[in-house]
């Protein structure tokens, strides 16, 4: 079964384009265009990963990150921030707030897909590297 990704961005055109691209890469896609519906969509859909914009109406990206981190059920979902904001001012803050990665818009598609794949699904196991 394909993994589900929740795309949160207040620009519906961008959401549509990302949905097309993610589907073409064999992901299921759910979407939300504001902070409040992002949380309810996360609760309902239980996505394997969330792509999150920072500048959102009804609770911005940081509020969403905070709510996710404070939820027992949702805290484990990896979040990739995709924002037009200046990384110098926002990257560290987003990573501290629990994001797995920060991309500034426009992001390179291949890089974004690689980071999505790296953060989805069970962790690869290399037991021999950890002798006990």
């Amino acid at each position: 079964m394909p993994s589900k990704i929740l795309v949160v961005d207040d620009d519906p055109d961008l959401v549509r384009a990302l949905r097309l691209r993610l589907r073409a890469n064999n992901f299921d896609v759910a979407t939300a265009t504001d902070g409040y519906s992002a949380i309810s969509a996360a609760q309902k859909e239980r996505p394997a990963l969330i792509i999150l914009d920072l500048g959102l109406p009804v609770g911005d990206g940081f509020v969403v990150l905070d709510r996710l981190q404070n939820s027992d059920i949702l805290a484990g979902i990896p979040v990739i921030v995709l924002s037009a904001r200046d990384p110098q001012m926002n990257e560290e803050r987003a990573l501290k707030a629990g994001a797995a990665a920060f991309f500034q818009k426009p992001a390179d598609n291949d890089e974004l897909m690689n980071v999505i794949r790296a953060n989805i699904g069970p962790a690869p196991e290399f037991k021999q590297a950890w002798p006990s």
């Binding site: 620009d11 055109d13 961008l14 384009a17 990302l18 097309l20 691209r21 073409a24 990896p78 037009a84 904001r85 200046d86 110098q88 990573l95 994001a99 797995a100 990665a101 500034q104 818009k105 426009p106 992001a107 598609n109 890089e111 690689n114 980071v115 794949r117 790296a118 953060n119 962790a123 690869p124 290399f126 590297a129 950890w130 002798p131």
Partner: protein, 530 residues
């Protein structure tokens, strides 16, 4: 006086002169408050307590003489108007005073009440105007910077949309694309990328101007970055039929610099060189050491373009400079690239310059400070003015299980570094700064003032502590190695400084070999812990 309550700080050590000035000041003006001190130090102290309307300053005081007096005063209180009262009719000194920010230079022996009143009035007004102007300029600059960073943010939103849809079409995700349509789309994508680069440069230059550009220095191998630059620029050079060569000194030292930023500078210079070099020309990237300046590495990019004339050379690193002779096709930026390069190099405390032979080509050069291990090592490796008896080098390497790494890799690396610092004796062991490019495998080195046996205790402790980190096993593999640092016994006249230097050289050589070989550490008895 224009101001009904004028407070004057008079700094004058001659009681007779002080009385005379006081008399002139109060003649007919009941609203002047005069505070008189006889030493500069007392004057500065008074200025720290309260701000007078004006300072009247004698230059030859017991604790300060001549130009030094007004320099120190203005440095201490740049916003208070100062009028110099001098016994000397010295035009050069008077000019110097005004240049330094003094409002007026009056001679004591021709002082009249009216004269003094007018001078004070003008000084106060001029100072107020200057301040208002400075404030306005500062506000304007701040506004401009805010505006530019806002604009570059807002421009990204539509640009992202265009970028997404163009790549969607190009990748065939919205249906098949005919070959000529694909060419058109590639043209759009090129323009989108160009626009993206301009927006990035705009924000970067704004940051540089506001002093907010940041660098994250690491200990890096320049050779690796140079090779990366060449690999990245090869396609552009090939497209234009330009030869791209690389020349590196055999023994380049490690440098302490931000790898992303240094790469940015080298790519920018090589890209420029390709842009301004005609078909069949060549571009060469070189890095070397120079005997006369052992603390720096010299990096240069030489092209066979048409060169730069001397007038242009002086301006080329300025913001928004564009070569007026450049054809439209080579003028594809905002003219911020070299300015950004200069600022990056400056933040690394290096220099950047250009030399050129018009008609034959140009060479852009810059320097970066080498990573001086000797300086860092000195306190840890010496004890009672002697080198400690034995040293070991520990290598800790975290290799992410996936590329790119899972989760917040930067934080993982930082946590490991913190743990390393807690596992060593800070007075005799040294955790070196992070090595190599960030974002991939992280390698840390520790120089320990112990023999290999003792060092084993430390590496076990490091492993135990690292294994306590939650999720580390899900993210990466860990390898810890240690080797003895073999030193030839010092000669009888070898100074401590020379011994530390020899240790630093030997350690640096081991680190560099270890970084090149990956996953191993050189040394006579390499010991794999676990």
């Amino acid at each position: 006086m224009t101001n009904p309550m004028t407070s004057v700080l008079l700094i004058e050590d001659n009681p007779g002169d002080a009385d005379l000035v006081r008399l002139r000041l109060v003649e007919g003006h009941s609203h002047v408050k005069v505070n008189c001190v006889s030493r500069l130090a007392d004057g500065l102290a008074a200025l720290s307590r309260e701000t007078p309307s004006v300072v009247l300053l004698d230059l030859n005081l017991p604790d300060s003489k001549g130009a030094e007096t007004f320099r120190r005063l203005i440095e201490h209180a740049p916003n208070v108007p100062v009028v110099v009262l001098s016994g000397q009719d010295d035009d050069t000194l008077a000019m110097k005073a005004v240049h330094s920010g003094v409002q007026d230079y009056l001679l004591k022996n021709s002082l009249t009440s009216k004269h003094l009143e007018r001078a004070i009035g003008y000084a106060v007004e001029r100072q107020a105007l200057t301040r208002a102007l400075e404030m306005a300029q500062k506000q304007q600059l701040e506004f401009k910077n805010q505006f530019l960073s806002h604009v570059s943010h807002e421009l990204r939103t539509p640009l992202t949309c265009i970028h997404q849809y163009v790549t969607l079409l190009l990748d065939g995700l919205a249906g098949p694309v005919a070959p000529d349509q694909s060419d058109h789309l590639k043209t759009i994508l090129r323009s989108v990328n160009q626009l993206h680069a301009m927006i990035r440069d705009l924000l970067e230059a704004t940051r540089a101007e506001a002093g907010k550009m940041r660098v994250e220095p690491r200990c890096i191998s320049l050779a690796e970055l140079a090779q990366q630059t060449i690999a990245m620029m090869r396609p552009t050079a090939n497209d234009k039929g330009i030869g791209l060569e690389i020349g590196l000194d055999q023994r380049l030292p490690l440098i302490f610099a931000d790898p992303d930023r240094v790469l940015e500078v080298m790519i920018n210079l090589v890209d420029n060189a390709i842009k301004f070099t005609p078909h069949d020309g060549s571009v060469m990237l070189q890095a070397c050491m120079v005997d006369s300046d052992p603390g720096s590495v010299y990096i240069s990019v030489t092209d066979t373009g048409r060169g730069i004339n001397p007038e242009t050379k002086a301006l080329i690193f300025d913001r928004l400079y564009q070569d007026p002779e450049a054809s439209d096709s080579s003028r594809s930026g905002l003219g911020l690239g070299l300015y950004i390069c200069r600022e990056i190099v400056r933040l690394h405390e290096g220099r950047i310059w250009v030399s050129s032979d018009p008609g034959r080509g140009s060479t852009f050069s810059f320097t970066l400070p080498i990573y001086s291990l000797a300086k860092l090592l000195t306190p840890a490796v010496t004890y009672q003015d002697q080198l400690r008896p034995a040293f070991s080098l520990v290598r800790v390497e975290l290799t992410p299980l996936s590329s790119p790494p899972r989760g917040n890799w930067k934080e993982t690396a930082q946590q490991c570094l913190d743990i390393l610092r807690r596992c060593v004796y800070l007075d005799k062991d040294l955790v070196l700064p992070p090595m190599g490019a960030s974002g991939a495998a992280e390698t840390f080195f520790v120089v320990a003032s112990t023999d290999l046996e003792q060092c084993g205790v430390m590496t076990t402790r490091i492993r135990e502590q690292l294994e306590k980190l939650p999720d580390l096993k899900a993210k990466c593999t860990l390898s810890i190695m240690a080797a003895q640092i073999e030193l030839t016994p010092p000669g009888p006249d070898e100074s401590l400084e020379q011994q530390v230097m020899a240790l630093a050289d030997q350690t640096t050589a081991m680190i560099m070999t270890s970084m090149e070989r990956k996953h191993s550490i050189p040394g006579k008895h390499p010991q794999l812990v676990n």
